[in-house]
Amino acid sequence: MEVPYTVENRPDTGLYNAKVGIWLFLASEVMLFGALFSSYILLRVGALEGHWPTELLNVPIGTVNTMVLILSSVTVVMAWASLKLNDFEKFKMYQLATVICALMFVLIKSYEYRDKFTHHDVVLADGMRVDGHLVEETDEYIVLSHPVSYPAVKGIGYRPTAIKEAEHGDDHHHAEDRKIMLADIVKRTTWGPWANTYFAIYFTLTGLHALHVIAGALVIAYYWGPGSKMWKTNPEQFTNRIEVSGLFWHFVDLVWIFLFPILYLL
């Protein structure tokens, strides 16, 4: 049995079925991310004054990733336009460029995640908090690089303020490395989603977005590789498939356009 309306438009909608389908799917995605955005708003406005962490993420890296995703949005639409112009070689080139951009985005995001997962935060028996990257660990002590210390009651988000205070000569340690005896540690964690609600919502939002990037990249890579055979047998249906996968990719870009300022800049 042949699937109807894969190329020609349905008389009632004026569109081929896959296009209506992807827009219905994207509508459900809007509500999915909308629910998480509203969770973010509630957590943000519910945080005590000065306790919501800011400046913990790397803005230049986030900006580069934003540019990478914007560029991929252009290459994906150029791939579709190339098919419309009957230029299969250019389509392949733009499609490959999109996959490379997607890989770059995921690699940069992985680097950011790794940076957070290796950032240790310890609360000491004397009521001070020390955080920094773990460089050495034994049965007796750990060594943190570029540690910053401040009263534990200030919370994880106080780190940027503590660094500024250290630069102005206030009483905060900001040495190259610091050895901490395990016996002096009351609580120890890393900057993963378990650290606090800021990191929980950060990892949830960016993790879900990254899954969308990976899924979209797999589909785009398939149509760049084995799936591109369809161009020889049914070029119109193939072009429609590229348009549909492109619509999904643009949605992924749209979500990041809002995630970047909310998580990195505000």
Partner: protein, 105 residues
């Protein structure tokens, strides 16, 4: 997108490149604006979301072809916008009952 002739597509390609320029400039402005210290937090959030909305608008209108789409898609998106805004308004409305102290030291 209704017009799919080669000339139409070539013209559209030029538009895509212009939109790329707008998005790059928009990103730079967003980052730059984050370094401006506004008295009100609402002003900072409002400006960031305004720039993001303009960028998103360009992506949706030109890359997703919403500038020239069929009525059924607009109807579908109208319904989505209604429910999305409802979700956001209800969230803000409920902020009086917000869970306090959501980030513990």
């Amino acid at each position: 997108m209704s017009g799919h002739g080669p000339e139409e597509i070539k013209k559209t390609v030029r538009t895509y490149l212009k939109v790329l320029g707008v998005l790059v400039v928009g990103t730079i402005v967003t980052v730059g604006a984050s370094y401006i210290h506004f008295e009100s937090m609402a002003m900072t959030v409002g400006l960031a979301l305004l720039i993001a909305s303009v960028k998103a608008g360009f992506v949706a209108l030109y890359f997703m072809h919403l500038i020239d789409e069929k009525k059924v898609i607009y109807q579908l998106l109208g319904l989505t916008t209604f429910f999305f805004l409802g979700l956001m308004v209800l969230t803000i409305w409920a902020s009086g009952d917000k869970p306090m102290n959501t980030v513990m030291p």
